[in-house]
Symmetry: C2
Subunit: 418 residues, 2 copies
Amino acid sequence: MNGLSIEIILLQIFTLFVLAKVAGLICERFKVSSVIGEIFAGIIVANTILFSALQLDVDISLFEILAELGVIFLLFAVGLETPFSELRKVGDTATKVAILGVILPFLAGFAMFMIIDNNLNEALFIGAAMVATSVGITARVISDMNVTRTLESRIIVGAAVIDDVLGMIVLAIVMGIAAGSSGGILDIILISLEAVLFVVLVILLGSILLPKLRKRLDKRRKPKSTIHCGDRKKASISPLPLAIIVCLGLAVLATVAGLAAIIGAFLAGMVFAEFKDKWPCEKDFGPINDFLVPFFFLHVGMLVNIESFSGVLGIAIILTLLAVVTKWVGCGLGARKMGRESSNIVGIGMIPRGEVGIIIAAIGVGAAFISEELFSVVVFMSMATTIIAPPLLEWAFRRKMKADGICGISDNSSTGKK
Amino acid sequence: MNGLSIEIILLQIFTLFVLAKVAGLICERFKVSSVIGEIFAGIIVANTILFSALQLDVDISLFEILAELGVIFLLFAVGLETPFSELRKVGDTATKVAILGVILPFLAGFAMFMIIDNNLNEALFIGAAMVATSVGITARVISDMNVTRTLESRIIVGAAVIDDVLGMIVLAIVMGIAAGSSGGILDIILISLEAVLFVVLVILLGSILLPKLRKRLDKRRKPKSTIHCGDRKKASISPLPLAIIVCLGLAVLATVAGLAAIIGAFLAGMVFAEFKDKWPCEKDFGPINDFLVPFFFLHVGMLVNIESFSGVLGIAIILTLLAVVTKWVGCGLGARKMGRESSNIVGIGMIPRGEVGIIIAAIGVGAAFISEELFSVVVFMSMATTIIAPPLLEWAFRRKMKADGICGISDNSSTGKK
């Protein structure tokens, strides 16, 4: 073990997990999503003496890998709720939502910084950081509210997937222009093709290769039904290890293809959703995510450095407002056929930028295209949209429920009141 | 993230998990415990080009934390199967098994190296490394064979806990003598008291504090039974996060008390076992352990460096034989009242040294009391005992089953054959 001793790392994991769960419980008591509590626990840890007391300033990477595994398994679980067959039904609207939700925020961010600084590269990177939706936050709120199977939820998740792919393409284009590369149109087309190819390949393999494997396993399993003396429990290929392998494998493949790991994990979940009857693993991912996912939201919160915002707070607030309004309006317009209440939900569901905006800004800082101060601005925007979205989303869902006269399960027993 | 990129780390985790599961499946096909497959996967990774190809030579610490979490949660799960109330019944025999299983191996290791090198400190450390039983391996084999609830299993696990405490005391004494400290008897007594105090405190708190918390929660939960319009799923205090918090908390406390983290995790499991009816969490730990535990056994395998053994292979084999025989005979003698077959099982179940022996040897190397070559010898002994034990244990259990005429569940339907 290089760096910290195992005792310190255990203390870090224990303390962070307790803080996240306690903050989450407090938020739930006040009818706020526990996600916000977990993010605030992260902010508190990062901006108080706790950070150095836990020696997180010495080495934070062990905690970061738990956060990354958490968001990967979370996206897999979200994918499990979204079989390809169902996504195809919402594909048209989701595509419109995604495209409008990419163009408007990009233009807003780009225009704002062309006006402020008249710096092309800077404006391009801020625009790119405005694009990608972090489906993680929305997915958790949706799951907590028990509305995963609504049409709006599936469009949001579907659009966020297309959005992520578009966001990566925008990033690739922006990096190409900023670096003044000679590639031009050909490079852009190649990168776009790669992203589309990845998604298509996963769909094809997931719908052809896996069913074949399934049939072969079915044949093998049958003759072995007799139990012999002293036999140990049969492990063979149980659904969970297979699901973990496919999830991690596609996450790795996605990074190889230049996409975010969570896109691969999400697609893996979608593949498994088609085999839910044969290989049920939703219940198994529950406990794993109960342990790992809080670390992701803690990590999101820990990226907020309150001090560094003082000088750029005004710019940060304006950018945040632009980020909220452009996604809301852009995605809402894309979903306008669904009616006012539903397009409202979709628009709000696409607001959170989360870690994706930060990752893009980090690339910009690393290549010296944007300053560290502007990085703080993007972090603030990503965090603010992430914190704002859940209560707005709950409000939008309840508004729709009231408009529809649908009030969840409890309503069946209380219809006499109306 | 300092060091490796997230892409490389995901690739490491994915590849290692796949190798462990595939090797485990191959072993199970040949009726060998999957533990051995997972350890061999680790040996293969550490001693081939795979190690540097996966960039594990650059940074292995992220993988190590998964291994450590794996063994901690594994020991918690083992503890869950061992309530205090039941351990008390086997306490007498388990204590005898542990004490004899500490004295004989220590004397054998000490005597062997006094004869070879006539170096007191060296002999003391080798003796100490011979002492501690790694219950992790045995626990997994026991769990795979579905014999966790047998008297022999509970005595092995109970003795291994006492053994770990005794091992830590032996280590403290040895370090005291080797450092030529002035502390003498008083220090030894203080350290012993601390270890005993920790276990007693956990028992007291676990049997007094938790039941009170339980009653208070019961009172609060009742009035909230009505479901309101649009309410999200109630999270409140579910058993799993609470179990994780108690498990990690006691693991941290154990390290603070100078004991191994796994002792705390095991005691936490024992505490939770008393509340199984109210807070069931065995099923939730299954998926978490399916994911994390293979990393522990991979890690055990990766500690084996085949090349460094060439010069000291003879010594390593003799030490291994001594380690096997002294534990087998010592612990078997401690359990002799249980009959020949059962004491045979207990003796074999205590053979694996696993990571505990290696940790002790690493402390010896760090303080320059033993050479790096001797460290390799201890690693070989720990690994060899760990690899030898599972098949021997299966053989011993089957022998007992045949002697008793008990042949598992399937026998009820095939009694006509006998």
